[in-house]
């Protein structure tokens, strides 16, 4: 094929996430390519709003514009503008969404749900299976979290070879225990230690927190009477962490906290909460697990911590006071 710049083709996406759709239909805007990774091109507009062009290997998200085939040849800092809902790049690449369908996670607000104790039991069962796969990243915490929550008296001080895990464990442990004790303050006490922590594009700490808040958000939404969550506290937290991690990871974390995540996460939570699902939640958990290097596992582990909130009262009493550590109120950054 000829490589002259004048001859780039048009791209017709098949599915466009609802957030990305709004982004495209808003007033004429411009922006630039923020990052180009294997299966994804991140675009950011002048308001720092983020969407991405992705191929089918990347799970759907409300911010993704899914192309059916290969991604266009773009490099970071390429500018773009939006004209008539078309994304136009100066090198001739045009992404035209005319035939694309709008994607958003399936709504299951009318479905009958399991009770909290059943959800707790089901989660534990699935997660003990997952733990057997020797998950990477924060996934290594699944076993110690499960052990420390149920088996009283075991003071879990597991050792990890990876310095990131070694560093993160105390905070993760404390958060999981706080969730199991339905102690919201206890959760907040240590989240700051995890923001932006870990290697890679979306640090494991962010993914973990995303999973955690996603879980809390969904529980709050579906069990409003049994479960209270202070929304302003969460949004304050989100504001505070913006500058503590990179734009991409921070955006994803914010979405998760607002109940929006990658498609397999939605499928997983839905199949977990409803009594008789056609599909096994385990399959969806596996699909989620294989996102990125450890991203999926990190989210799953955070979600587990959030789900511990559903632990029945009876199992809870003995915990009493949690070991309080110094509050890391603000992080200088």
């Amino acid at each position: 094929m000829n490589n002259s710049p004048k001859s780039f083709p048009r791209f017709y996406p098949r599915l466009i996430g609802s957030t990305a759709y709004e982004w495209l239909s808003s007033a004429p805007e411009q922006g630039k390519v923020l990052a180009v990774v294997t299966n994804c091109i991140y675009l950011v507009n002048s308001d720092d709003k983020l969407v991405w062009l992705a191929n089918k290997k990347t799970p759907l998200h409300t911010r993704s514009i899914q192309l059916a085939g290969a991604l266009p040849g773009l490099v970071p800092n390429d500018p773009f503008r939006i004209e008539d809902q078309e994304l136009v790049f100066p090198n001739g690449v045009v992404v035209n969404p005319k035939n694309a369908e709008d994607w958003r996670p399936a709504d299951f607000s009318n479905e009958h749900l399991l009770g909290l104790p059943e959800i707790y039991r089901k989660s534990r069962e699935i997660y003990s299976h997952l733990a057997q796969l020797q998950p990477p990243g924060f996934g290594s915490f699944i076993t110690p979290i499960l052990a420390s929550i149920e088996d009283e008296g075991i003071s879990s001080q597991p050792q990890f070879n990876d310095p990131v895990l070694q560093f993160a464990w105390p905070a993760v442990h404390s958060i999981a225990r706080a969730a199991a004790a339905q102690d919201v303050r206890g959760i907040y006490a240590r989240v700051n230690e995890l923001v932006g922590l870990g290697s890679g594009l979306t640090p494991s700490g962010d993914d973990f927190l995303g999973g955690l808040f996603f879980g809390l958000h969904i529980l709050n939404q579906r069990f409003p009477s049994q479960f209270q969550l202070n929304k302003t506290e969460i949004s304050r937290f989100l504001m505070q962490i913006r500058s503590c991690t990179n734009l991409i990871s921070g955006t994803l974390l914010g979405d998760l906290a607002g109940g929006l995540g990658p498609a397999p996460l939605h499928a997983f939570i839905q199949n977990l909460l409803i009594p008789e699902s056609q599909e096994s939640p385990f399959e969806h958990a596996l699909a989620l697990a294989f996102i990125g290097h450890s991203t999926g596992w990190d989210i799953l582990t955070g979600l587990l911590s959030g789900l511990l909130w559903t632990r029945p009262e009876a199992n809870r009493a003995t915990h009493g006071r949690l070991p309080q550590r110094v509050l890391v109120e603000t992080v200088s950054c």
Partner: protein, 514 residues
């Protein structure tokens, strides 16, 4: 214990990739620990905990990539960090994706598939097409060299199953807006079309788009469908399908001459169509086409387009849109600059239908054309490479394309021919077609424009001028940039027309006597 680090400002890499880099670094002998992290506060704290400390690290931002190494000696740290670029810039090794090797496996991946697009070598094509039909798939069969017996068997089987076989030797279809093979990006709309020739369909669909209307489906039938043996099996199936299709309001047929018996069968079917049918059968005596029930004949593709579009708009067909005053003025200018010996046309075409339609239009104007695919066997070129007087060559003919890329994909052959023609002092007019769309060359004009300039220079050096007439088939939505393609032609001094029929009308003007 020695440590070192590198900071990359505002750099993002995906995690899988970074992990790979980290693993490679830690595999170097003497490396004790590695970290590949974004410069978030938490990560900076972590680095501090493992005794990697520096002002620069403190200043790093969450969007910055920090790569840190702890090793046994400074030399190792230096070596590892020195190779970082090589690792970061290495093309990511993709896991060998397991390719699908057979139609059956493809089906198991997409059990709801409804179309097989087959372009395997001809000797295997019928077998694959048969399997696809048996699996309930419609077939687009690009492969040529399928025997007429196999073609008939496939089409009879398909007819019994309510399936469509587009091809063999089918270059173009548009199904529900999806262009298959060599196809242009056109608006969806009420006009359905059936065509035996790829470029004919491309021209028709592009012209409909240009006229502001759109295409419901364009169904290619393959070049032998209207032969006596096949008797229009696919054309008939396509007629049935379009007649039943909700979106289609008028049906057009574009074809080279059908067998007489097949034409009769076609008219039988057209008679009972619920929708009006317009047909452009190039090279068929108009007398044979007049007065058929529910059928409007058109002499050219452009005319068929005009009839179809007017009909769906509920208006009478517009009169022939001919050359504009501007066009005529430009033509007069060109003719004035010819030397007395310059009198012949050389058409070097990529589209088979264009070669045919131009001959038809020029013949009607009383101009004799020699060709490797002539209207009349009398004017067959003995050697397709040697032009005689007025000549139009179909460079997409087997003679040129066996074992070589089609001129729609690669312009190299046409380029050589253009230059050869330009050395003949008797040549006055060069006619070239350019076909855009999916699977065509991404820059058809760019490939040829230097040759056009050089051809014109050759003629100028003899004191004359070489008139270059071009037609561009395509739409502004095509993967190539239509406007840029046309602009490049204009800048090279060519006369540019939006259809082959219009360009042919200009050729008549150029070659006709005043």
């Amino acid at each position: 214990m020695i440590s070192g680090f590198v900071i990359r400002k505002n750099q993002y890499y995906d995690s899988v990739f970074l992990m790979n880099v980290s693993r490679r670094m830690s595999e170097v002998k003497g490396v004790l620990q590695t970290a590949v992290l974004m410069g978030s506060p938490a990560n900076k704290q972590l680095l501090l905990d493992i005794h990697i400390q520096d002002d620069q690290i403190e200043k790093a931002q969450p969007n910055d990539l920090i790569v840190a190494v702890i090793a046994e000696s400074p030399a190792i740290v230096e070596n590892v960090l020195g190779r970082l670029n090589e690792w970061l810039e290495a093309i990511q090794e993709n896991a060998p994706s397991l390719s699908v090797k057979t139609l059956e496996e493809g089906l198991s991946q997409k059990p709801n598939a409804n179309l097989a697009v087959i372009s395997v070598p001809g000797e295997y094509a019928a077998r694959e097409a048969k399997k696809a039909l048996e699996a309930g798939l419609n077939v687009f069969l690009f492969s040529a060299n399928v025997s007429i017996e196999d073609e008939l068997a496939l089409k009879q089987f398909a007819a019994a199953q309510g399936l469509l076989v587009m091809g063999p030797d089918c270059g173009t279809s548009l199904i529900g807006g999806a262009g298959i093979g060599f196809a242009n990006s056109v608006r969806r709309g009420p006009v359905g079309v059936i065509g035996a020739a790829g470029t004919g369909l491309q021209e028709f669909t592009s012209q409909v788009h240009l006229a502001g209307s759109g295409i419901s489906h364009a169904i290619g039938t393959g070049s032998h469908d209207l032969s006596e043996k096949i008797n229009g099996l696919t054309t008939l199936a396509a007629l049935d399908a379009l007649d039943a299709d909700q979106q289609t309001r008028i049906i057009a047929i574009v074809s080279k001459p059908p067998a007489a018996s097949t034409l009769a069968v076609l008219f039988e079917r057209i008679k009972t169509c619920k929708k009006p049918v317009v047909g452009c059968f190039l090279g068929v005596n108009p007398v044979l086409l007049n007065g058929k029930p529910n059928f409007q004949p058109a002499e050219t593709i452009d005319e068929a387009v005009r009839i179809a579009v007017a009909s769906v708009n509920g208006q009478p067909a517009m009169p022939t849109v001919g050359l504009t005053e501007e066009d005529l003025a430009a033509i007069r200018m060109e003719k004035k600059r010819w030397l007395p010996e310059q009198k012949y046309l050389r058409g070097i075409l990529a589209g088979g239908t264009f070669c045919y339609q131009s001959q038809q239009i020029l013949r009607k104007a009383g101009i004799t054309i020699h060709s490797n695919n002539p209207f009349d066997r009398k004017y067959l070129l003995a050697d397709p490479d040697r032009s005689i007087e007025n000549t139009i060559v179909d460079m997409g003919d087997d003679f040129y394309t066996i074992g070589r890329p089609h001129p729609m994909i690669d312009g190299a052959m046409r380029k050589r021919r253009i230059l050869a023609e330009s050395r003949d002092p008797q040549v006055a007019v060069l006619y070239l077609d350019f076909i855009l769309g999916y699977n065509a060359s991404m820059d058809p004009v760019g490939e040829m424009v230097e040759a056009i300039r050089e051809a014109k220079r050759n003629s100028r050096q003899r004191g004359g001028t070489l008139t270059v007439v071009t037609s561009v088939c395509g739409t502004e939505a095509d993967p190539q940039d239509l406007n840029l393609q046309m602009k490049m032609l204009q800048e090279a001094g060519a006369l540019v027309f939006r259809s082959n029929a219009l360009a042919s009308a200009a050729l008549c003007e150029l070659l006709g006597q005043e």
